[in-house]
Structures are given as C-alpha cells and as structure tokens.
C-alpha cells in the first residue's frame, strides 16, 4: 500500500479544514466529530453522495454547505456526456431506480465552471471520476492534478474512483467487477496523485471483499461501499420497463441492509477506511453503518426528500454520542457487539 506522504490535504488553495467539536454537558469534554481519511480531515463524518448533490451550487440556497463533512461531486468524465434517454427515474417501495448515465459537462468545463466554486467551500471536496476506459480515468485525474498546479485554482481534496456505475455500457461497473482491472487501474491512478484515492465499490459482485482487497493492493487509501444495486421495474399497463434503459441502479432505504452488510464485511477484509453509503436517511441509519465498521458516511437519495438531512444526521449522531458517552466518531466502529 502506497500511503500519501503529506498528511494534510485540506490546505491546498484555501484554509485548512477544522474538525468539528460539540459540547458535551454530561462529561464536560467536547465530542470529536471530525474524522480523517488518509490524512484528509473532514469536519464531521457526514458527506453527500456523488450524483445526488450536483456540484454543490444547486443546493447552496437550501443547505449550509460548510456544515457538511464532505461533498462528493457528480461524476466527471473526460468529455461532456448527455446521459441516458428519459425516463431516467422510477420510484419503488422505499427505493429509487435511476439511470442517469453519468450526464456531466466533462473535465474542461468542470475545471472552469465548477471547481472554482467548490474551492470556496470549507467542506472536503472529493471529485468523483468515471470513464469508459482506463485511459479516460487517467486523463481526468491527471487533468485535475494539472489544474491544481495552475495559478491558484486549487484542485480536489481527494478522488473517488467510480468503478461501479451500473448505467453505462462501457467502463463503470464493468471495471468494478473485475479484481485485476480494479487493482491495475488503482495502481495507475496512484502514480498520478498524492491526494487520497477512494475507490467506490459495486455491490453487484459475488464477493465484494475480493474487489476491496484488489483496490487496496492497487494503492487505494479508502473504499466507498456501496454503489447502487441493479434494479428493474415494469409498468404493467403500458407493458414497458419504467426506465428507458430497461434497468438502472437502485438506491434508498431499500438497499440499506445490503450496504451495512457490505461495510461490515469489507471493513474486516482490508486495513484502509471504509466509507458507508446506501439508504441513509437518519442519524440512526448512519450509526448502523458506523457501528458496522464505516469511518464515515454519505447521504444520497434522502437529500431529494429532505435537503437538510445531512445536518439533522450530524446533530443526531452528536446526540447519540452524548447519550452513549462516546467521545469521538472514530470510537464508534469499535463498539459493535458480536
């Protein structure tokens, strides 16, 4: 494993991120809400998941972005992508099937139009990277690294490598289900950056721990578990699939037990931090992931219903910690009683 040599990444192009603390009236000692992923400080353990929060600005009127722990951007590919045909969404019992198809403005527009705004935020900014070929991932990460060296533009605080998108024909999940490809791709990207590399894993595999170990061998600093599950819904009146591309990725509370189980298994199979995501809508949901072994979490689909869910979850976690006498978020994953 090739750990980055520099310990603080939050300082590039702006002020260092300060971990959040909250008062604990019972003990007098402050609660440590901040977490550190391979040297990247997050002020608290609650991030917003890639693809559900755009590039931050879309939600700026509704949520105080400086209160969330980390913002994982919508995926960035080398060229602009229009995405998949409509309809792209179907609601299912406690779930949402989506097939967006990585619609995004492409690397150049991301650097010019999106990154400068993201750099003004005081949450950790993690750029989600996707591609149709290994070369594309390399060029996107390389391009953002280059931009970071440019005149004061700053770059990403970390990268989340999306090898798990179920909604594209080439790349995406096709990469993330082959351990050899995951290891090789991670190793290639590792050479391009000293910033934390997070590999986002697909649950649509026989053994997620196998893929997790491959990413770790390739030099990943952390793993995100889980991307969406492949799902399909049919309209029995029109006799058509409810998603134009037939099947899509299922998210929401319906997949939470799958995500918690994946985090439990993966966190015991590797020695790098695991970021839990999948169906988190409340503090209790986030705590399930943290207890199962996650170092921090992401909120996704719940944002669509309640944009301020991350803030409520942070406050709920702090309340739980006070009640349980837990002083730091890092302690939580050791508390699961088996």
């Amino acid at each position: 494993m090739n750990q980055p040599e520099t310990s603080v990444f939050g300082g590039i192009g702006r002020e260092k991120i300060t971990p959040e603390t909250a008062g604990s009236p019972e003990t007098g000692a402050p609660l440590e809400l901040g977490v550190s992923i391979a040297g990247l400080t997050m002020r608290n353990p609650v991030g917003v998941a890639s693809g559900t929060f755009g590039y931050g600005q879309e939600y700026a009127e509704l949520v105080d972005l400086n209160r969330i722990g980390a913002l994982y951007t919508k995926a960035v590919t080398l060229e602009p992508r229009a995405g998949n045909p409509a309809p792209r969404l179907a609601e299912t019992p406690m779930g949402l099937i989506n097939s967006i198809g990585l619609a995004n403005p492409g690397l150049d527009a991301f650097i010019t139009d999106k990154l400068p705004y993201l750099r003004t935020l005081s949450c950790a900014v993690i750029v989600n990277v996707a591609g149709s070929s290994e070369e594309e991932y390399v060029r996107v990460v390389g391009g953002i690294e280059e931009a970071a060296c440019g005149a004061g533009s700053g770059g990403a605080d970390a990268y989340e490598i999306n090898v798990s998108c179920p909604n594209v024909s080439h790349g995406g999940m096709a990469f993330g289900t082959d351990p050899a490809v995951v290891e090789r791709l991670t190793a290639r990207l590792r050479k391009l950056t000293r910033r934390p590399l997070i590999v986002k894993l697909s649950p649509n595999v026989t053994d997620i721990a196998h893929i997790a170990r491959a990413a770790e061998s390739g030099g990943a600093d952390a793993l995100t578990c889980i991307n969406t599950l492949v799902g399909m819904a049919v309209d029995t009146e029109t006799l058509k699939p409810r998603i134009a591309r037939i099947s899509g990725g299922l998210s929401g509370p319906a997949i939470r037990p799958v995500g918690v189980a994946a985090v439990y298994r993966v966190s015991r199979a590797v020695s790098i931090p695991v970021i839990g995501v999948g169906g988190i809508a409340s503090a209790n949901d986030a705590l399930e992931y943290l207890l199962a072994g996650a170092a921090c979490v992401q909120v996704g689909t719940a944002l669509f219903s309640r944009p301020t869910a991350p803030i409520e979850i942070i406050e709920g976690i702090a309340g739980w910690m006070r009640r349980k006498g837990v002083r730091s978020v890092d302690e939580i994953r050791g508390l699961l009683e088996i």
Binding site: Y59, K74, A82, R88, G252
Partner: protein, 299 residues
C-alpha cells in the same frame, strides 16, 4: 427557493379525482409566477412514497382584508404521494420546496396570447390567465384560452369560494379568498372543450382555440403567442401548429423528478439535436421548438 412548512387553508375536491389545494405563502419569499412549481414531501408512517412530488402552481393571491398571501395548486390523485396529500385537511401542515422552475412569458406589446390547457395541465394555464386578467388584458381582444377535458363529467367545479363548509375561511367568516377568486375568473374566461362532446365544444382545447380564432377580428394580422400545458401529444400539436403558423410557442412539461433543483439530472426530456433538458431547472416551460416531442417517451 426555500424549504419550509406551510399551513393548508383548503384541500377540496373539485371533481372525482381532482383536488384544489390552497396553502399559506410566506412573507419572506418571492411570489410564485405562472409556470413555476413546488415539490411537497409525503410524510408519515402510512405514506409509502419516498420522493417529493412536483405540483404546478394554479394561482396566487393576497387577501385585501387579512393581508394573508396564499397559493393554489390543482392536482389529480394518481399514486401514493397525491393520495396521501388528499387526506390532509385545513390547519394541517405540509413540507414544501418552492418556488421552483421558470415561467410562461407574457405577451409582448401588441401580441395576442393563445393559451391551451389539457387535463390536469389546466392549473398553470389558469394561473397564466389570472395574471393576464390582472394586467388588464381582456378575453377575445387580447387573449383566447381553451381548456380540454375527456368528458363533461370530468370538468372541475372551481367555484371554490362558494364551497361552504370545506375551508377554514368559511368557518372564520372570511368571504374574500383572493387566490381562489382569481382562479375562478380565469376559468370563466376560458372556452371549455370535451373529447367526447358530452359538454361544450366537441374536440380538443387546440381545436376549440382554432374554431374561436377563425371568427375573431382582433387576432387578424397580429402576432400571437401560444402558451400550453397538457399531455405530450397536445404539446407536440402545439409545436407543429405554431411552426406552421410562424408563431412563438411555449409549453410546460411534466416528468418524474427527484431533486427538483437541477442536481440529479433525473427529470430530463429529449431536446432537438440529441441533447436533454432538465424539466426542473431548465424548465418546466420550454420554447416548443427546443424539445424533441416526437419520441413520446416523455411524461
């Protein structure tokens, strides 16, 4: 745009499957305009709905006496979200995200407005008409409007202000619900049409417009603007007709939606040139010739 809780003033049946929702509008928020929409959150353990539901505004008004501002929406009970909503009564509260999206353009000086609403799409069209009336524009000399329904039975009763006993206003003796009154006046300024001819004009809203237009001297040699909301085939017909007549045309679309603020790219519709537009953030009102209305894979 704001996420807030509002109090329901009225939530009353206006036809078998349609309801008219009226709720309080906060003072510190810009007023909604015709074409714009909001999303509401179905809540509570008995609600199986996960996502917020988008609904178009059908009106807005400020009572001269109380100074209270209220907004209206016409909705159809279609699934778990709207079923849940229909169960709420006056005094209960609703979680809203509003106002969202863009607006119908007003006619330019000298321009005649042709407004068409189909089915539950009449809500934003009525809001548009109430705005035209408020600006002093008059039926037949400045605009023509037509609303299309399947049958005579499905035409809603929008005399909401006189539906005694169903609203808090009546309990409180408030007899001047400005928003509902403007909605009803807009309805009265519209030609009604039914597909089966069981009441009023036989044919679609666009057929009714065409028929009325023929006998109208005010429209001759004047530029005209279409504004329409309704099912996709109707919007496609507006696009075809406006292109042939060389008139501007704006249509309001409907699509499944998740975030409502432009972040998720879930609510797209195909546009000309193989691209997509987001119903929530780029619309819901589009110039008809921007959209690719041929695929039929919209809402």
């Amino acid at each position: 745009m704001k996420n807030f809780r509002t109090e329901i003033i009225a939530n009353m049946p206006v036809s078998d499957r349609w309801r008219l929702l009226e709720f309080e509008w906060p003072d510190d928020l810009g007023v909604p305009e015709p074409g714009q929409f909001f999303t509401f959150l179905p809540e509570g353990g008995s609600s199986p709905a996960l996502l917020r539901r988008p609904l178009a505004f059908a009106g807005f008004g400020k009572d001269s006496g109380s100074g209270r501002a209220t907004a209206l929406s016409l909705y159809q009970i279609r699934g778990p979200g709207t079923s849940w909503l229909s169960g709420l009564g006056p005094g209960e509260t609703l979680d809203l995200l509003a106002p969202l999206g863009n607006t119908f353009p007003l006619p330019q000086a000298g321009e005649f407005a042709l407004a068409a609403g189909g089915g539950i799409g009449i809500g934003p069209v009525l809001f548009y008409l109430s705005k035209l009336l408020k600006l002093g524009l008059r039926q037949n000399s400045d605009f023509l409007a037509a609303l299309g329904f399947r049958t005579g039975d499905s035409i809603p009763d929008l005399r909401g202000g006189s539906t005694a006993g169903t609203t808090r206003d009546h309990a409180a003796g408030d007899a001047d619900p400005a928003a509902r009154l403007s909605l009803f006046r807009a309805f009265e300024a519209s030609i009604l049409a039914t597909d089966d001819g069981s009441a009023h004009f036989r044919g679609t809203a666009l057929d009714a417009l065409k028929a009325a237009e023929g006998s109208l001297r005010a429209l001759q040699s004047r530029p005209a603007l279409y504004c329409a909301c309704g099912p996709m085939p109707m919007l496609a017909e507006v696009a075809r007709r406006s292109a042939a007549e060389q008139r501007r045309a704006y249509v309001s679309v409907e699509q499944w939606m998740a975030c409502g603020v432009g972040a998720c790219h879930g609510c797209v519709l195909p546009a000309r040139g193989g691209t997509f537009v987001r119903a929530c953030a780029d619309g819901p009102v589009f110039e008809a010739n921007v959209l690719d209305l041929s695929s039929g894979r919209g809402a």
